[in-house]
């Protein structure tokens, strides 16, 4: 990795093999398959809702990237402090959030995760460990460092997690945050979902190298670069880095190479606006489907079959449909919400 290129990891013709399930727990993997399906079907539902103009605001979909959040979350607890960004449906759902409350939020309903005040780009579920997501690129990265520092000051072994993309690494505050986390030994895991694109721009047009882990190396932070469409690989790498952070070893950096099937925003593939993004490439990456690959691995181990998968899919589809129907009929926030959450302390009105 001396030249910081991904090699086979970013070649869509490679890494199509079934996930290696050797030594893994069958029940855990089946749960992960179910969670990845839940996330995918939820995002497909959001894509359709956006296409049909039932959703008013933008949705940034991560279909194709489900294994990253699910693999990392397998090593997290509800007392950890996870921060997301603009493409965070998978991050919040992987922490165990309610589908109904996610949908309600995207629809701007009072019952939503952020009480209808955030929409898709500002998700909050702190009771489940999800501290928040925002669409300012890299905006939450230093927040995760601070929440991790707080865990240390509070004498717990909880960790912070900052999900960011390869584009966020081009922001200055990420470099400040890496250095600060290292110097304060903050127990934070930086998770770069490197899907090779920032909005429409391919990474080759933005950075001299593909691997953003070079900045971890520059800051003396332990790192791993993995196939982000292999949930077991993501989990195994997360396990080491998170264990190190929990035992006062300081920050870690996980780079998961993946690809989003939809465009930057909403339901289209955006091959028309993507620079260096082609229909052929999208089709090739679909063959690296993290869900299909986990299923193939489970199937070859005799741990899952077509009937079971179909049953799981049916159940997830039902769950999504019920949650969506419920969310669409929920009420909007009261007009008083326009100003009632600006400050928390009371006493300003005379």
């Amino acid at each position: 990795m001396a030249d910081w290129s991904f090699g086979h990891l970013s070649d869509p013709a490679q890494c199509q093999q079934p996930v290696d399930v050797t030594g893994q727990d069958r029940g855990v993997l089946l749960k992960q398959l179910e969670m990845m399906l839940r996330i995918r079907l939820a995002e497909r539902c959001l894509a359709n809702g956006r296409r049909d103009k039932l959703i008013g605001g933008p949705v940034h979909l991560g279909v194709g990237q489900e294994a990253v959040a699910v693999g990392v979350a397998a090593e997290l607890r509800k007392t950890d402090r996870v921060f997301g960004a603009h493409r965070s449906h998978s991050h919040v759902l992987s922490m165990g959030s309610s589908l109904h409350r996610l949908f309600a939020e995207v629809l701007g309903k009072e019952t939503g995760l952020s009480r209808g005040m955030g929409g898709s780009m500002h998700l909050w579920d702190q009771p489940n460990g999800f501290y928040g997501s925002v669409p300012i690129v890299s905006g939450t990265v230093p927040l995760a460092v601070g929440a991790a520092l707080a865990a240390k000051l509070q004498g717990t072994d909880d960790v912070g997690v900052a999900y960011l993309g390869d584009g966020a690494v081009e922001e200055g505050v990420v470099h400040e945050s890496l250095n600060l986390a290292r110097m304060l030994k903050a127990p934070v895991l930086f998770v770069v979902e490197n899907n090779l694109f920032a909005s429409h721009m391919h990474i080759s047009l933005r950075q001299p190298f593909e691997a953003t882990a070079r900045f971890a190396a520059a800051n003396d932070i332990p790192y791993a670069v993995v196939d982000g469409n292999d949930v077991v690989a993501v989990r195994n790498a997360s396990a080491k880095l998170i264990a190190n952070a929990r035992s006062a070893g300081g920050p870690g950096f996980l780079e998961a190479v993946t690809y989003r099937w939809y465009g930057h925003v909403d339901w289209r593939e955006d091959i028309d606006v993507g620079v260096n993004r082609s229909a052929d490439e999208v089709a090739a990456w679909r063959k690296r489907d993290p869900i299909a690959r986990l299923y193939a691995g489970l199937q070859s181990a005799g741990w899952c079959d077509a009937m079971r998968l179909a049953e799981m899919e049916k159940q997830m589809n039902e769950e999504v449909a019920v949650a969506w129907d419920r969310a669409t009929s929920d009420p909007y926030p009261a007009l008083s919400a326009l100003t009632s959450h600006v400050f928390r302390a009371t006493g300003d009105t005379q």
Partner: protein, 328 residues
């Protein structure tokens, strides 16, 4: 009641000591905290007394440090992030304006980062355009961010404590030109920041002078000078600029009929304009005896050369001249 002699700097120090002593969730992060010549006498030996893990001197990273304080606040701490000069704090605008100020609103009031951003106005001494700015009005424009500017020794101590204990993000702006101001203070009584209002520091009948921070001192000195000349000025100190509660000002101007606002920053789109607008909007036509006036900086960055610098900042004389014109 027994009192203790403080100056503005040691009053700030006393507030930090009180907070670190009493609240384990308070910690301080920022540049220059282990060698606090940046911050006058306001943080001396805090690291030695309370430990370097709670008084954290940092890399030169305003943006990440402020963002980290926001994140720590969301995780239940009461952090104070220190920017020894406001000019450098501009690197942290995203953490302050996009993240801290909007968080509560964006998540429906379910969480808020209760951090305090302490920013110091540190100007003069031929330091020029980037070591001088007083940008309180920018921040008072942002919903969700409380902005506090203490002008008295008591407020330096008590509003700092109130800011740190407030569950909302607070920008606390103190001024190096005030550090030698002295007063005797009683023991600390914790105040609720959200119930603090502008304060009348001097009674008068002819004219209302409104100011904040160091400008309040100028206003008080000018009022003293005016009194010698037979003009009775009422002086109101804003204290909290956001949210801005103009009631005390309206009441005073309704009585005096004249409003003069002093602000050690620029005029256009500034705090002085906001104060005047609040009065003009609320006071019935015909009550004002004169058009309101403001004394602010020339609309230019701070100069370096001594002669230019002397002409740049408002003075007691410039306020007196303006006030006397209003009495014609």
């Amino acid at each position: 009641m027994s009192t203790v002699r403080y100056n503005y700097g040691t009053a700030l120090l006393a507030a930090f000591e009180y907070l670190l002593e009493k609240y384990p969730e308070v910690f301080i992060i920022g540049q220059g905290l282990w060698s606090p010549w940046y911050v006058g006498n306001s943080m001396t030996d805090l690291d030695k007394k309370f430990g370097a893990h709670r008084v954290i001197d940092t890399p030169v990273s305003e943006s990440a440090c402020t963002g980290a304080a926001v994140g720590a606040a969301l995780a239940g701490m009461k952090p104070v992030v220190v920017h020894p000069r406001m000019d450098f704090m501009l690197y942290a605008m995203d953490a302050i304006v996009n993240q801290a100020a909007k968080w509560s609103h964006m998540v429906g009031g379910q969480a808020a980062p209760g951090l305090t951003i302490r920013s110091i106005i540190n100007r003069g001494g031929e330091q020029g355009a980037q070591h001088s700015q007083a940008l309180h009005a920018w921040f008072a424009h942002v919903p969700g961010l409380r902005v506090v500017m203490p002008a008295t020794v008591a407020d330096a101590r008590d509003l700092l404590i109130a800011s740190v204990l407030c569950p909302d993000p607070v920008l606390f702006i103190d001024d190096r030109w005030l550090y030698d101001l002295e007063d005797d203070l009683p023991p600390v009584v914790e105040l609720s920041l959200s119930s603090q209002r502008p304060q009348r520091l001097m009674q008068g009948d002819d004219l209302t002078i409104v100011a904040s921070g160091y400008s309040t001192r100028l206003g008080l000195d000018a009022a003293g000078e005016l009194l010698k000349q037979g003009i009775s000025a009422e002086v109101i100190d804003l204290r909290v600029l956001n949210p801005f509660h103009p009631d005390v000002i309206i009441e005073s101007v309704s009585k005096t009929g004249r409003l003069l606002v002093v602000d050690g920053s620029w005029g256009p789109c500034g705090m002085a304009g906001e104060v005047i607008a609040s009065a003009v909007e609320r006071i019935p036509v015909g009550v004002l005896k004169k058009s309101p006036a403001r004394v602010t900086l020339p609309f230019a960055p701070a100069p370096t050369a001594r002669v230019l610098e002397q002409a740049y900042y408002p003075t007691v004389d410039s306020i007196v001249v303006c006030a006397k014109k209003m009495m014609d």
